[in-house]
């Protein structure tokens, strides 16, 4: 079936890996939003505390499901040479190694968070909490991975989705940093400064980076995949 699809154009896995990636980003964004709503103890009679908390846990697990689908489909897709190992060990692959590697880093962090959360009854609360903070690191890394590897990054809908998710996460980080202000001002200041710095970086980098010209070549796509792409692809108008 793969052979038939290859002659017809990009494989179904290629579409699946992009779509599951986008959905995973969306779900991870909601997981962070819900996590902050949870820790800030916001609730209404219609949305009691235990529901918010349950929702946070379930959305996070769903995000992991989509993330696994995203990884599996990218491996199964025959276009880009991505192996299963590339999902866990960053920067060792041959397809856009750095940007793909960021995805592996983010996935590793989320694996640690997920496993510790599933086993939290067996570990001390303090250790579980310390590892849970890694979620704040995993998200921007995932976003950069999406911008760097994503082939749809110039398309309006994905750009809008990414910016929308970024806005939600920024708002969540600010809301989180304000809880208990002004204790631990140093830590809060660092978090807000880091977040602001990251946003500034995106603003400066995106236009000349992924949104600029020849990003596929500059980001490390193997030359064989850039020149002489399938003629069938041209006919479907897909962008690489």
């Amino acid at each position: 079936m793969t052979a038939t699809l290859a002659s017809a154009g990009p494989s179904v896995y290629w579409y699946l890996t992009r779509s599951t990636g986008a959905v995973a980003l969306l779900l991870l964004t909601f997981a962070i939003v819900l996590g902050v709503v949870d820790v800030r103890r916001w609730s209404t009679p219609q949305w009691p505390r235990f529901i918010i908390d349950s929702l946070h846990r379930n959305v996070s697990l769903l995000a992991m499901v989509f993330l696994v689908l995203h990884i599996v489909t990218s491996v199964l897709d025959s276009f880009a040479p991505i192996s299963l190992l590339d999902a866990f060990i960053p920067f060792a692959g041959s397809y856009r190694p750095f940007w793909l590697g960021l995805g592996a880093v983010s996935f590793d962090l989320l694996l640690a968070v997920t496993i510790t959360s599933l086993l939290r009854q067996r570990m001390g609360y303090a250790s579980w909490r310390a590892i849970h903070w890694l979620t704040y690191a995993s998200w921007p890394i995932a976003l950069l991975h999406g911008f760097g590897t994503g082939s749809d990054v110039k398309s309006g809908w994905l750009l809008a989705l990414s910016i929308g998710c970024l806005a939600l996460v920024l708002a969540s980080v600010v809301a989180r940093a304000l809880a208990g202000w002004p204790e631990n001002l140093g830590r809060r200041g660092t978090a807000l400064a880091g977040t602001g710095g990251f946003s500034l970086f995106l603003l400066l980098w995106l236009p000349g980076g992924p949104l600029g010209s020849e990003w596929a070549r500059r980001s490390g796509t193997p030359p064989s995949l850039i020149a002489g792409s399938h003629s069938a692809k041209k006919s479907t108008g897909s962008h690489r």
Binding site: R41, S43, R49, F50, Q121, Y125
Partner: protein
């Protein structure tokens, strides 16, 4: 063999889920911290108590068996 609900006040961070899931035994004070009725639990109430203990983000809520 009866069980009772108890809170570890040091771990408790006033998330408030316990009072939602076991209102028969737990109410919140004006600062959001649980006030426990330590009457014995049994049957379905015990199941609710266990669920409440699992829901507590900091494991502050404990369901304890009576010490003989």
């Amino acid at each position: 063999m009866s069980h009772r609900v108890r809170v570890n006040p040091i771990m408790c961070e006033a998330h408030g889920m316990c009072a939602e899931l076991l209102p028969e035994r737990i109410t919140l004070d004006e600062w959001g911290y649980p006030m426990i009725d330590s009457e014995p639990l049994s049957g379905t109430l015990l199941d609710h108590a266990r669920r409440a203990a699992q829901a507590c983000p900091t494991f502050a809520l404990l369901v304890e068996r009576e010490r003989p």
